[in-house]
């Protein structure tokens, strides 16, 4: 129960930060970080996958409503959570993670390199879908790709920062 309240609290904080701070601060042409994705990296891996998928949709829709980007955040978030489910199943041993006393992937449980590749690739998939739907043009592929890559690094940095803050 406490865990659930904690996650709801994190979701509210991340949603507010994304809507009223990150989105409003101009960070350049190619840098559009979305640290709200951190929520899906701190949710327990043994949580019902349907519940995570629906919460991703609701959370994405709320972000869409606050930013006026109808459907873009929710579509990208649903896609990322869907892929994340299969990535988790393929690469993570849930039992050994439980033995370590962890409920999600962190630097401590799987090492820095795995954590980096795991997080950045999922964030990049999200951003690629998000900017793909936002630009909606094949000929802007290079711009979509570069914006996704740079923003992914930005998002990853902010995820690391917020993770350390929430831990404290």
């Amino acid at each position: 129960m406490i865990e659930t309240i904690k996650h709801i609290f994190i979701a509210i904080i991340l949603g507010l930060l994304q809507s009223f701070l990150i989105q409003e601060v101009p960070m350049g042409f190619y840098l559009k970080p979305m640290p709200y994705l951190m929520l899906f990296f701190v949710l327990p891996l043994d949580l019902n996958r349907y519940a995570i998928l629906i919460s991703a949709f609701i959370f994405g829709t709320l972000i869409d409503l606050s930013s006026g980007s109808f459907g873009t955040h929710s579509a990208a978030t649903v896609a990322m959570v869907f892929i994340k489910n299969y990535v988790d199943r393929a690469f993570i041993d849930f039992d050994s993670l439980k033995l370590q006393g962890e409920s999600y992937i962190g630097v401590e449980s799987k090492g820095w390199l795995f954590f980096f590749y795991y997080t950045i690739s999922l964030i990049f998939i999200h951003h690629l879908i998000f900017f793909g739907l936002d630009f909606f043009e094949i000929r802007s592929f290079i711009r979509i790709f570069s914006t996704s890559l740079i923003s992914s690094l930005g998002t990853f940095s902010l995820v690391l920062l917020f993770k350390s803050l929430f831990k404290k």
């Binding site: 349907y50 998928l53 629906i54 949709f57 109808f70 459907g71 929710s74 579509a75 649903v78 739907l133």
Partner: protein, 299 residues
């Protein structure tokens, strides 16, 4: 049924993800202006390209019928020219014989060209709906405008109602919203309302003709010279059935259409050169009927 249920149960997670994704995607297409216009423009041009291919194929298959129609049309036009020339000859003869100067403009001699024709190909056409439309492969860049009459080799086809750059949509005669007043050649009547009852793609009904009118089966039904859209005396069809048994003061007339709407391929879009002038005159009379009299004719 059990197999389908099992399959859905087995794949419920990807199916749920897919449903949520498409719901979001649909929101993007519905509410984001750029994506919305991009999607609709792309899908419309895609559908039109398919229509064009299909039209090319069916056009090739129908080549024989098409040739026959064009031959008949040529024959009709040759006859019309011959008739017109014979009139000119007659007028010349009268003028020569009597020595009077002809003050009436002679048809053909000082012929005022009032109509512009643009030929087009029908790329999509429906005949089985209550309101039927056809699409042609010519648009505003080819000079097609709204309210242009559309004629086929056999007769009237419809009216252009919407144009884009390269394509246009026409309201077919087989449309519940289409109405026109025809000219009945034998009796000289210019009354009644011709409209489609939605039942048969080969015939339309002609209402509001007084039962005293002597209409016969086989009478030619043409476009009226009072129409500001259609050129006068273009074939619409011929009277197929006249019902005088009803108690109404009007006759119930069924008109067999000259155009076979299931086979239309080549059409001509016709614009009246002086339509704007005529419309503005009509509007000025409608808005202010006494404007040109300076109040002198007031009772």
């Amino acid at each position: 049924m059990w197999v389908i249920y099992q399959w859905i149960k087995k794949n419920s997670y990807p199916l749920l993800a897919l449903a949520l994704f498409f719901f979001s995607f649909n929101q993007i297409l519905q509410y984001q202006i750029y994506q919305h216009s991009f999607y609709f423009n792309s899908s419309i041009s895609f559908v039109r390209s398919i229509d064009q291919w299909r039209s090319n194929i069916t056009g090739f298959i129908n080549l024989k019928t098409e040739n026959e129609q064009l031959r008949n049309e040529n024959l009709y036009l040759r006859n019309a020219i011959a008739y017109s020339d014979s009139l000119i000859g007659l007028y010349d003869q009268i003028k020569g014989d009597t020595g009077y100067i002809d003050t009436i403009s002679t048809p053909g001699k000082r012929r005022k060209i009032s109509y512009d024709f643009v030929s087009a190909k029908v790329i999509r056409n429906t005949t089985n709906r209550p309101d039927n439309y056809f699409y042609i492969d010519k648009g505003s860049v080819h000079g097609i405008k709204e309210q242009m009459a559309v004629l086929g080799p056999e007769g009237v086809v419809g009216v252009i109602i919407q144009t884009t750059k390269h394509y246009s949509v026409g309201m077919s005669l087989l449309n519940s919203k289409f109405e026109t007043t025809p000219f009945l050649q034998r009796t000289g009547l210019r009354e009644g309302v011709l409209k489609w009852d939605g039942e048969n793609s080969n015939s339309v009904t002609l209402d509001e003709i007084n039962r005293t009118a002597k209409i016969k089966v086989g009478d030619a039904v043409l476009t009226s010279n009072y129409s500001s859209i259609f050129p006068p005396y273009q074939p619409i069809g011929k009277v197929k059935r006249v019902n005088t048994n009803n108690t109404s003061q009007f006759l119930e007339i069924e008109v067999e259409l000259a155009t076979n709407f299931n086979k239309i391929n080549t059409v001509y879009c016709v614009s009246t050169r002086f339509k704007n002038e005529m419309d503005s005159l009509q509007n000025s009379i409608l808005t202010n009927p006494m404007s040109n009299n300076n109040g002198q004719n007031k009772p």
